[in-house]
Amino acid sequence: MPENVISVCDEKVYEQLYREYAEKICYYLYYKYGDMEKAQDIVQDSFAKLWTNCSKIIFEAAKSFLYKIANNASINEYKHQKIVLKYKSTEQKTYTNESPEFQMEEKEFMHRLNTAIAELKEGQREVFLLNRIEKKTYKEIAEMLDISVKAVEKRMHLALIVLRKKIGNV
C-alpha cells in the first residue's frame, strides 16, 4: 500500500527534520538569549520530545511543534543572558599600512557595538541579528516569530536607532 502519511517516526524523516530545523532553531535561540550552549541544550530537548511523541505528530506540524517546545523551554528555564558576539578583526596583513590608532579605534568601535547589541530588547535583537547575520529575509523572520512583516520592519528600524544612539553616546 502506498504510504499516504509521512511518519515522523521514520528515521529518515526525522533526520531530514533535524537537518532542516536544528540549526535554525539553535541560532534563533542564540540571538534571542545570547547563550549558545543553552541554545543547543534546548534544541536537543525539543528534538528528543519530537522523537518520543513522533507517533502523535503529523509531519506538517513538526516544525511548529519544535518551535513551540523551544520557546516554552527557553522562557521557563533560562534567564536572559547578555549576548557576547565574537567578531573577526579585519584581516591581519603583515604589511599593514593602517595606523595603530586606526586599529585601536576599530577595536573600540566593535566593543561598543557589541555592548549596544547586548542591550537591545530581545525582540529587536533577534530580528536584527537574524537579518544581518543569518541573512534571513523579513518574510522568513516574520514567519519564524509569528509576527507581521511590518512588525519586523519596525523592529529593525528601532534596533538601528537605538544602536546609533548608544554608540554615539559612549
Binding site: 537537518r19 536544528a22 540549526e23 557595538l113 529593525m156 528601532l158 538601528l160
Partner: protein, 302 residues
C-alpha cells in the same frame, strides 16, 4: 524619516528613489553604514549539524519525557510478581496462541496472515486470530475497518460484533464500528450475515446496515477502498460518524457543541491535509470550526 519603519524598509531596499536620495545625503546615513559594516564582522558560533544529529540519536535513547515518566523503584516481591506475569503471558501464548494486531489513531498497517492473505488495517482498528488453528478454519476477528485480499482456498471468515463475512478468495473491505457495518466487495464473492439476514455480494456491490439493523445494498466504484488511496469517502452517513472518522484519521478531538450530529453527509476528505479536510467536511454543512490548540477543534453553527 518620520515613518517608524523607514530604516527597516531602507535595509530591504523597499523605498522610493526620492526617499533614498534624500536619506543618502543626510549625515545619519554614514553612521548607519558604519554600524552595519561593524555587524558584518560578527561571526556566529559553529553549529555542526551532522555531529549534532549523532549526539541527538544517542540522547534520544536515554531521554525520558519528564512530563510522562516517573521512576518507580521495584521492591523485591515485585520481581516475583513481574516474573509470574511473564510466565502467565507465556502460558497464554502457548495454549491460546492468539495474535492481535492493532493500529493507533492516524496509523495504517499491512499484515500478512499465515495463509498469505493480506489485511490492511485502517486507523484505530484491530484484528485477532488464533495462530494454531488459523491454517484450518481461517477465522479472524475484526474491530474497526480493514481491507482484505484473501488467498484462494477454503472459506475465510471475518467475525465482527455486527455480523460475519464469509468468502472463498477475494478482495473486500469491512467497516464495523459501534452498531454500523459496511462491507464493500471488490473481487470474487462475499457473504455477509448478521442476526437478521444473509446477503451475497458480487464485485462492485456493497452493503450497509441501517438503523433497524438490516442490510441495505449499494454500489461501489474503484478497485480499492478510498481510504487506501489517502481519503475517506462517505455516502449518507451521520455527522457523528464523519466526525469520528476525522478524529481517527488525524488523531484529534472535535467538540460538536450545539451542532446536530444526526444530519447526513455525503462526500469525502483527504488524509494528508487537516485544514482542507475540515473545510470540505464542514463548509458545505454551514458549520465553522476553530482550533483551540493543535489537537482540539470546536464546531459552531454559522
Amino acid at each position: 524619516m518620520e515613518k517608524d519603519n523607514f530604516l527597516g524598509r531602507w535595509l530591504s531596499g523597499d523605498i522610493s528613489e526620492e526617499e533614498k536620495k534624500e536619506f543618502e545625503n543626510s549625515k545619519d546615513h554614514l553612521a548607519y553604514k558604519d554600524i552595519l559594516k561593524g555587524v558584518e564582522k560578527f561571526e556566529r558560533p559553529v553549529f555542526d549539524v551532522e555531529k549534532g544529529l549523532e549526539n541527538q540519536k544517542e540522547f534520544n535513547q536515554t531521554f525520558k519525557d519528564s512530563s510522562e515518566n516517573k521512576v518507580i523503584k521495584l521492591r523485591p516481591w515485585w520481581y516475583a510478581a513481574a516474573a509470574a506475569i511473564v510466565i502467565l503471558f507465556g502460558l497464554r501464548t502457548i495454549f491460546f496462541s492468539t495474535t492481535e494486531i492493532y493500529t493507533k489513531m492516524a496509523e495504517t498497517k499491512i499484515w500478512t496472515l499465515p495463509d498469505n492473505s493480506l489485511v490492511t488495517l485502517n486507523a484505530d482498528s484491530s484484528i485477532e486470530y488464533n495462530k494454531k488453528t488459523f491454517a484450518e478454519d481461517r477465522i479472524i476477528e475484526l474491530n474497526g475497518e480493514a481491507f482484505f485480499d484473501v488467498e484462494k482456498g477454503s472459506s475465510f471468515t471475518v467475525k465482527t460484533k455486527n455480523g460475519d463475512i464469509t468468502v472463498l478468495g477475494t478482495e473486500f473491505n469491512v467497516y464495523s464500528r459501534d452498531k454500523h457495518i459496511e462491507v464493500h466487495c471488490f473481487e470474487g464473492k462475499v457473504q455477509v450475515s448478521n442476526s437478521k439476514e444473509t446477503v451475497i455480494l458480487t464485485p462492485g456491490k456493497a452493503i450497509k446496515s441501517n438503523a433497524e439493523g438490516s442490510l441495505d445494498s449499494n454500489e461501489v466504484k474503484g478497485s480499492k477502498p478510498s481510504w487506501m488511496q489517502g481519503k475517506s469517502t462517505f455516502d449518507q452517513v451521520t455527522l457523528q460518524q464523519l466526525i469520528q472518522e476525522l478524529e481517527r484519521q488525524y488523531d484529534i478531538n472535535i467538540t460538536t457543541n450545539d451542532i446536530d450530529v444526526n444530519r447526513l453527509f455525503s462526500g469525502f476528505f483527504v488524509h494528508n491535509d487537516l485544514d482542507k479536510a475540515l473545510k470540505t467536511c464542514f463548509e458545505p454543512m454551514n458549520i465553522s470550526y476553530v482550533f483551540n490548540n493543535q489537537k482540539n477543534i470546536s464546531l459552531k453553527n454559522k
